[in-house]
């Protein structure tokens, strides 16, 4: 893997919360246009890795580069802002701004952070909403939307600054099963458009399907990485194998179900409500 065209590069990253070590030497490299998935048991530091990339958390040791920016060296707020304009982040709990309409959620950052004229920001917001199939809810407030709809808006909001890198932090984990499909469809489209994506996910099938490279983390370390066919088909490390077996057998059905099945599933109870 040539280092020269890697967009994100973490080398030997160590991070601890107080006395609790979370990352114990993480090495990850993401090439431009690549989709990378990070899988692993809960608490293995997956989400922490994403937060380090966009400067929300600062590791005690190690190097992080996004393009030619040394994230670890950024101290001033305005430098961090310059980095975050290039990196979109989507959260597990959506974290939309509840007092703003969908449209306002999408134009706030471009106008106030990106300095984009309001008219252009609005036009772009409508285009993004169309892309995530949410243009009919432009005037709605987050509290009026389902989880899946909120998450699609959150993805559009993260795209509004035209980032060159998108980070997805377990974006389907908080969703009802029947909403997982609609969100994964949006991400699948982004990946096939060639946007560089790093996904922390529990959706093994999805990771296998969209990723160019998969990393398996455990206890703050990368245990194994490789193309999905190899990592899922013939894991070299026995811990990877054990995890995949657990994930295939022990987790709730929605983790294993095909996203498209749930997309068209019909639940009469939901209609009754």
């Amino acid at each position: 893997m040539p280092d020269t065209d890697s967009l994100v590069r973490l080398s030997n990253v160590h991070l601890a919360f107080g006395d609790t070590p979370v990352l114990n030497g993480i090495d990850i490299s993401v090439r431009r246009g690549e989709a990378v998935s990070i899988i692993g048991p809960s608490g293995s530091g997956k989400s922490t890795i994403l937060r380090c990339i966009t400067g929300l958390l600062r590791p005690q040791q190690g190097g992080i580069r996004v393009g030619d920016v040394d994230v670890q060296a950024l101290r001033r707020e305005r430098d961090l802002i310059a980095l975050r304009k290039r990196v979109g982040f989507v959260f597990q709990q959506y974290n939309l701004f509840p007092h703003m309409s969908v449209l306002e959620n999408l134009v706030a950052a471009p106008i106030k952070v990106g300095g984009v004229p309001r008219a252009r920001a609005l036009a772009r917001a409508h285009a993004l909403l169309a892309r995530v199939h949410m243009e009919h809810k432009a005037g709605a407030y987050p509290g009026e939307l389902s989880g899946g709809q909120q998450q699609r808006v959150a993805i559009a909001r993260a795209l509004a600054l035209e980032p060159e890198l998108m980070l997805f932090d377990e974006v389907t984990s908080a969703l009802d099963p029947e909403m997982v499909g609609e969100v994964l469809t949006v991400i699948r489209d982004l990946v096939s458009d060639g946007l560089t994506c790093v996904l922390v996910t529990h959706e093994m099938r999805f990771a296998e399907e969209v990723s160019d490279t998969v990393y398996f983390t455990e206890a703050g370390r990368i245990v194994e990485s490789g193309p999905p066919a190899q990592l899922f088909g013939a894991p070299r490390n026995e811990r990877t194998g054990a995890f995949l077996q657990r994930a295939a057998g022990g987790v709730p059905a929605r983790r294993r179900s095909d996203p498209f099945d749930s997309l068209f599933s019909f639940d009469p109870l939901r209609l009754a409500v």
């Binding site: 975050r84 982040f89 959260f91 106030k112 952070v113 909001r157 993260a158």
Partner: protein, 276 residues
């Protein structure tokens, strides 16, 4: 009740139907019903010339009572304005990263939230001078302004707590999300945190307003000519048991008429807040 609308002949114009709906709405309004209940005996007494003496005296004292109520309204409005401005400053300092500043505001809030309001009113009345010399001039420091300050102190301590609680009730995830979008700290506070806080603060702030308004009755104890003071003077002057009973009932009704709409508005705002 709705029959007269549903059975209305088709030729009836929309204007008449609208007027009928408006009339029905007015007829159900509690304030209108209250006025009606008051107006019927008043008209009867006036027409028959049998107005009870106590009611006649109340009518005579009515303008003075209204002036007294005006003083209560004035004190409550000023105390809440002053208390809110002071409280927001104290509340903002209580969120400061500097521990000594936080301790200072903590002490302020504790001191003024745990003091009886009557004690604070006496405190400001008798500790502050009755006039202030400013550059050769002697400015009077009237009692009602001291009462305003006496009420503004506990109000500000409560506003500070309401503000601090509101800011801290905004999930940390909102900060994180705004940071990830490249907002600067001051922008996040102004555009994301504060607007959400204002909504959460509105209902408790209105509650405080109603409570401070009721506390303005304490002004009468330090010689301010407010509603309660006027009622006491009237009661002593007229010196009739039936008048005394009537005027204190009137007092209750007047405070109710001022505070009840505030609490109704609070409940309405709380319901609206719950929806978003």
């Amino acid at each position: 009740m709705d029959n007269d609308l549903t059975l209305a002949p088709l030729g009836r114009s929309g204007w008449t139907a609208g007027a009928a709906a408006l009339l029905r709405a007015v007829a159900r309004d509690p304030w209108f019903i209250t006025l009606l209940i008051l107006a019927v005996p008043a008209l009867y007494w006036t027409a028959s010339g049998t107005t009870p003496v106590a009611v006649e005296r109340l009518w005579y004292w009515w303008p003075a009572l209204m002036r007294g109520l005006g003083m209560n309204v004035q004190i409550s409005l000023l105390a809440m304005t002053l208390g809110t401005m002071l409280g927001l400053v104290v509340g903002a300092i209580s969120l400061s990263p500097l521990a000594p500043l936080r301790a200072l505001t903590r002490a302020y809030v504790l001191a003024f939230r745990n003091a009886p309001i009557l004690v604070l009113v006496y405190f400001t009345t008798y500790v502050f001078p009755f006039e202030v010399p400013v550059a050769g001039w002697v400015l009077p420091f009237p009692d009602w302004i001291k009462v305003v300050i006496g009420l503004a102190l506990p109000a500000s301590a409560n506003v500070a707590e309401i503000f601090r609680g509101a800011v801290q009730s905004i999930p940390a995830a909102q900060w994180e999300a705004a940071h990830s979008l490249g907002f600067a700290r001051t922008q996040i506070f102004r555009m994301v945190i504060l607007p959400q806080c204002l909504r959460r603060m509105l209902a408790p702030w209105m509650n405080l307003y109603a409570s401070i308004t009721m506390s303005t009755a304490l002004a009468s104890l330090v010689g301010v000519h407010d509603l309660v003071d006027t009622a006491t003077v009237a009661s002593n002057t007229v010196a009739r048991t039936d008048f005394t009973i009537l005027i204190y009932f009137t007092l209750l009704a007047l405070f109710f008429a001022y505070c009840y709409p505030i609490s109704r508005l609070t409940r309405y705002l709380e319901r609206r807040h719950a929806r978003h």
